[in-house]
Symmetry: C2
Subunit: 293 residues, 2 copies
């Protein structure tokens, strides 16, 4: 905490993830300067003791460290380079931490713009959903220089538990893309396996139990497998988010000349599910593609 | 052990899995009556104290409980219904335990033939490979009546650690099919994720480390992910076996009118790998499809 007592922390993006994360900073004794596109969450956090700002630029005027937690790549770009964006008033030595799931090329481009102003950039996307955000137990995958990561660590420690410095700028986003590829494909694996059991007249709950502890075991079998058995698809991580993240991973792969046929198929299955109107359900709802008749 | 002292146990199929499993029965004080199509392993086990038989029928004449551990569905059918097969001399009340990975419809058909003779049938396929077979730590998924499973359990306990009675005849094989579907698809997931990291210039070892403990974590990320990093594809479970098991799962699904597109794609990727001459490598070698240039 000592590293942060003389620092002002800004927080941009007060959605389902950002709000509880910002509150964890406040619980640790910080008084964040907050901004959100729609005013209601700003006012809510201000009533709880935060300082509301009227634009990203105004956050940048006051903050030494700025956490950004917005919905997608265009939103991050807007927060940084938009008319009232952070870059307009960014001071040298300010640290920007992008904790959303942003495309790797955009991350590298935005980091370069930030570094041109003498400021620092860390990409630090998270896994663990709103539950992890509330509990402060997010898994955090960080990319950036050693210097920038060292500066970011005290803030990240207030937000998550497993914090890995994966590599240079963009490496955190690459790890998050890898995470989402595995999560999506493993949900598909568990869905096909449990649907097969069900179709064969065998209790999928007992199949899942038989598989725990063996090579088929995973956090997805544990958590999302149980969701499938319970037909409980209240999110959690939404299908639309899962689809967006896999699509972003596929765009990166295409740029690199890498084919990912399994990820492409899974993205297409999520497309079907979203077309069926299930986009706002938890990503475990992929199971429904196999069990709806 | 008391349940087994007055029983003769037979063991048919002394391959890479069967041999160490049979030895675990001998370590527990049993004197199994053994058969294998090629004579060498029979003689080897006989020198160690087992009783060699000249045919499956001869095993059936002597044994109260017969474990079958052969390569595939046609081999099990041959052991039971062939010219010198078990069914020729099967006594009533004998228990047959098929521990190989056998197709579900064949399992149900063979069990019916066995039960017509007043004998009992348990399908009890395993996961854990030769290492698990040697250590006696196999995961065992069993199908059959309560009575048959109760009779099988003392023998199964000498061979494995996690023993689940999944349901009626065939339920063990359904669980094994589910297991193989998840294992194959999750290997593909980890392969695409780590290949993406590598292509993006990020150390896949650090990506894997960042993902451990989160939703992307699994036994496959732990074991097969490490194999991919080490380029160590000495089996383990072979690509040809993985391909066979997924194909068998797809045949079952087709009979049941269930589409499993992700499993079908993975089967096709394993076909490509086998065509490339990598069939005898560990199933984690799927990674090579993404990294060979």
């Amino acid at each position: 905490m000592n590293e942060l007592t003389d620092k002002t922390v800004g927080f941009i993006g007060l959605g389902l993830m950002g709000r509880p994360m910002c509150r964890n900073l406040m619980k640790a004794g910080l008084t964040p300067v907050v901004y959100n596109r729609s005013p209601q969450p700003r006012q809510e956090l201000a009533r709880e003791g935060a300082v509301a700002a009227d634009s990203p630029a105004e956050v940048a005027e006051q903050a030494d460290i700025i956490v950004i937690m917005v919905a997608d790549t265009p939103a991050v770009e807007h927060v940084l380079t938009g008319p009232d964006g952070v870059l307009h008033s960014l001071r040298s030595a300010t640290l920007l931490i992008d904790m959303g799931t942003t495309a790797v090329p955009a991350t590298r481009r935005l980091a370069a713009l930030v570094e041109e102003k003498g400021a620092l950039y860390v990409d630090a996307p998270v896994s663990g959903g709103t539950i992890g955000a509330e509990a402060g137990t997010l898994t955090i995958m960080a990319g950036g220089s050693e210097q920038a990561f060292a500066l970011a660590r005290p803030v990240l420690s207030l937000l998550g538990e497993r914090i890995t410095h994966v590599g240079a700028t963009g490496a955190g986003q690459v790890a998050k893309a890898a995470n989402q590829v595995i999560v999506g494909l493993n949900i598909g694996a568990v869905a096909e396996a449990l649907a097969l059991a069900k179709a064969a007249g065998v209790d999928p709950a007992r199949v899942r139990a038989a598989l725990r502890g063996g090579f088929a075991d995973s956090r997805i079998l544990e958590v999302h497998g149980q969701r499938m058995l319970d037909n409980n698809f209240a999110p959690g991580g939404k299908c639309t988010t899962q689809r967006k993240d896999m699509h972003q991973a596929l765009e990166l792969a295409a740029e690199l000349g890498l084919e990912m046929p399994a990820t492409a198929l899974s993205r297409d299955l999520y497309d079907r599910l979203i077309d069926d109107g299930d986009g706002d359900l938890d990503h475990a709802a992929l199971f429904r593609l196999y069990t709806k008749s």
